[in-house]
Assembly symmetry: C2
């Protein structure tokens, strides 16, 4: 059976996953495209259903599936030129838990593409947990896309700064800011959390107050800052040597 109407209740619910409210209500997010769906399934995520466009002739999976007409499928997807397959995936369990190893804390990052790119880098550089306070939602379509499959592998926990600092009790907090210690000369502790603030306004006061060490990337004096994702990548890899 092919669902054609954009007014169909399931189509409307899937389309609601583009917004944070819809994702929270359904406890799910949408993964779009051939490669991303394949990786979500391979990663063993809780895939609730596969959503395909009626002309889709690619790989399928032994999972509950629904077929949509072209208009209904386009209404569900965020991509401008969707590839014909998407997956509804359960959000990870809510709550903020302590880290298992080196981890990352994003403090007030509002750009979803930067959040996604940072999650992608965190997985690559071996930062298992990514905590987010006052940030763009890591499960928005833009963030999921720019994370590549990063959001499938990182332990993403979104909460208030208080909840996050409580989970990080006893963990040294290294926070990036102007005027800190050159990150390339620092010998980091074995286990730590790296905090990154927003490009525009930097670290929040609460995070600066909680920081054990302030670190900075050495920069030519004509530059004030780097793109937040670039900055996070340089710092994560610089501190990874230990």
């Amino acid at each position: 059976m092919v669902i054609l109407s954009k007014q169909n209740p399931l189509v409307k619910e899937l389309a609601s996953l583009k917004e944070k409210k819809g994702r929270r209500e359904r406890g799910a997010f949408l993964v779009e495209g051939v490669k991303m769906v394949r990786e979500a399934v391979a990663a063993g995520l809780d895939v609730r259903r596969i959503v395909v466009r009626e002309d889709y002739a690619g790989e399928t999976y032994a999972l509950p599936a629904v077929t949509l007409g072209e208009g209904a499928f386009a209404a569900v997807c965020d991509e401008k030129t969707p590839q014909g397959i998407a997956a509804e995936v359960a959000l990870p369990a809510a709550g903020v838990r302590p880290p298992e190893g080196r981890c990352l804390f994003l403090d007030g990052l509002q750009d979803p593409s930067n959040v996604g790119a940072i999650v992608r880098t965190a997985v690559a550089a071996g930062y298992a947990e990514v905590y987010l306070a006052d940030c763009a939602d890591a499960f928005s379509p833009k963030s999921v896309r720019s994370s590549m499959s990063g959001v499938f592998f990182a332990r993403i926990m979104q909460g208030s700064r208080e909840e996050i600092f409580s989970a990080l009790e006893g963990v040294p907090l290294l926070a990036a800011d102007m005027g800190g210690q050159d990150v390339f000369t620092l010998t980091p502790p074995e286990k730590f959390c790296l905090a990154i603030g927003s490009e525009g306004s930097g670290l929040s006061d609460k995070t600066r107050a909680r920081a054990d060490i302030i670190v900075r990337i050495p920069m030519d004096e004509r530059c004030e800052s780097l793109n937040a994702a670039v900055s996070a990548g340089v710092l994560m890899y610089a501190l990874r040597r230990a």
Copy 2:
């Protein structure tokens, strides 16, 4: 005098700077916003004229200026909510010249925001020249914006791979690719050029053939790649230790 018409020849010419063809024909690009214009002037760039919206009441400069009505000013700007001031700045001299120090070569990067973010990082990390072949134009509005003031300070040279490799004769080329040497264990030569390929298709065959050393960023096996700007930043800083 306030120019109100979008059909005014000067307004049309300034608006043409949004496109590469217009920039090439006028030999100029547009810098938008209070902060960027201030930095362009302070950097001693060849500012041909300041363009202000009639309600602009901020800082002015002892430079030729033109005042536009709201509609004409909006037509000239690429920003959705322009701040009321812009500057027409001469493009750097064309031609591909040899580097003075450590430098960067971008090979086929099509995303203007990534190109801009990389130029910004190059200035911060002390890479004086940025060569571009088959890339998004570094002087497009998106690239200029995401470079912050990076395009004012880097020596940007756009040309063919042949022209660039000719200018780089005798300079060791370190190219980023899978399967290379871990960049964190490498001792780079004193002077070198770092080549970065596109996220999607990697290095071009010509660049791979010209490379003296292939370097890679160590990554968790679940990741295939990083965002091109993040990758460039991690590599530039990793190789900067020398």
